[in-house]
């Protein structure tokens, strides 16, 4: 869809869409004062404590497939209607968390172990000092 809905502005605010969709919305918001005004309106509605069923659906991942289902999807091992739904959820709804899970699962299938292990060791070393023991 070419136009940008309020739900998509909220999705953009929450970094919830695919990179392609995020860039499309970012470009449009930069170019349009009217979109920026709508963006502010959504923020204000949140600050007033309004709820959005769409934001709750997305934020609570109410229809996101499990990681195990995503793994089976990559192997084309699900029932046809689930294969179709996951394709829809990732390609049309553009769920960023599921896209990230799919990318990770693909990478794990192809990964070069030493590179990944080294990267994770760096994360570990940079963060382990922040663990606080219970008193």
């Amino acid at each position: 869809m070419d136009t940008i809905s309020d739900a998509d502005l909220a999705n953009f605010m929450d970094e919830a869409l695919s990179a392609e969709e995020m860039v499309r919305i970012e470009t449009a918001v930069r170019a349009s004062a009217a979109l920026r005004k709508r963006f502010d309106g959504i923020r204000q509605a949140r600050d007033r404590g309004w709820h959005s069923a769409g934001a709750i659906w997305r934020g609570h991942h109410l229809s996101c497939p499990t990681r195990s289902q995503l793994g089976s999807f990559l192997l084309d091992a699900l029932d046809p209607q689930w294969q179709d739904y996951i394709r829809f959820h990732t390609e049309v709804v553009a769920c960023r968390m599921c896209l990230a899970n799919l990318a990770d699962l693909k990478a794990r299938q192809e990964e070069q172990a030493p590179t990944t292990a080294e990267r994770r060791r760096r994360v570990f070393q940079s963060s382990v000092g922040h663990i606080k023991r219970k008193k």
Partner: protein, 213 residues
């Protein structure tokens, strides 16, 4: 959902200061968080920085983490806020003057007392969270019903209407169904949701989709 129990065990051990469990948690979640951030930054060094900040943010907020909530969702929400802060520093979101995260980049919704100032003026954080839980439970129940009955057309229709905010006409064209069918799904779903959440004290005027239907 299968990993939730083992996530809880890992978190218990991390709270006891077990570094090996922390390494296991990193091994489990680093890849997906990295993919999430890299898709937006296209820079491996910056991505690594944001992911590291995410894990540090998680440890910093660990005393306030509710072990009953899903760890994956929590980590992605921290990553999204860290990423947003990073993009703001790069001038990628210059029109956003305010932030939803604290000075550590942690989402304010996760912080004690829900530090989102304007929300706390409008309504207590606890009341708002209770309403959100009621809506999430009601909507989750409907979605589970549709899936268990194989009603994927209805699921897709409502996901495009609610999550992406597409107009009825666009949804009908995408799913190759009539606009009347889209309107029926929408009308039925909103009616069912209203019925489910009214008993939890959530007024129609508090939900955007209800007031605009």
């Amino acid at each position: 959902m299968a990993s939730v129990t083992s996530d809880k065990l890992l978190i218990d051990k991390i709270r006891d200061g077990d570094a090996e469990s922390w390494q296991q948690l990193i091994d489990r979640y680093e890849g997906r968080l990295r993919a999430f951030v890299l898709s937006r930054l296209n820079d491996r060094d910056d991505t690594e920085d944001v992911v590291q900040e995410t894990f540090i943010g998680f440890l910093t907020s660990l005393p306030n983490f509710d072990p009953n909530r899903e760890l994956s969702t929590y980590l992605f929400s921290i990553a999204a806020h860290k990423l947003t802060d990073h993009l703001r520093r790069q001038g990628r979101r210059p029109w956003e003057a305010t932030t939803d995260s604290d000075t550590e980049g942690r989402p304010l919704d996760e912080m004690p007392g829900r530090a989102r100032a304007a929300s706390s003026i409008a309504q207590s954080g606890e009341g708002h969270a209770a309403e959100e839980r009621a809506l999430a439970e009601a909507l989750g129940e409907l979605i589970r019903q549709w899936i268990s009955r194989g009603q994927f057309e209805r699921l897709k229709c409502m996901e495009l209407l609610f999550v992406r905010g597409w107009p009825n006409k666009e949804v009908a064209a995408r799913l190759d169904i009539t606009e009347q069918t889209v309107a029926n799904y929408k009308h039925q779903t909103i009616g069912q949701l209203q019925k489910l959440v009214r008993s939890a004290g959530v007024g129609d005027e508090r939900v955007l989709e209800f007031s605009s239907s």
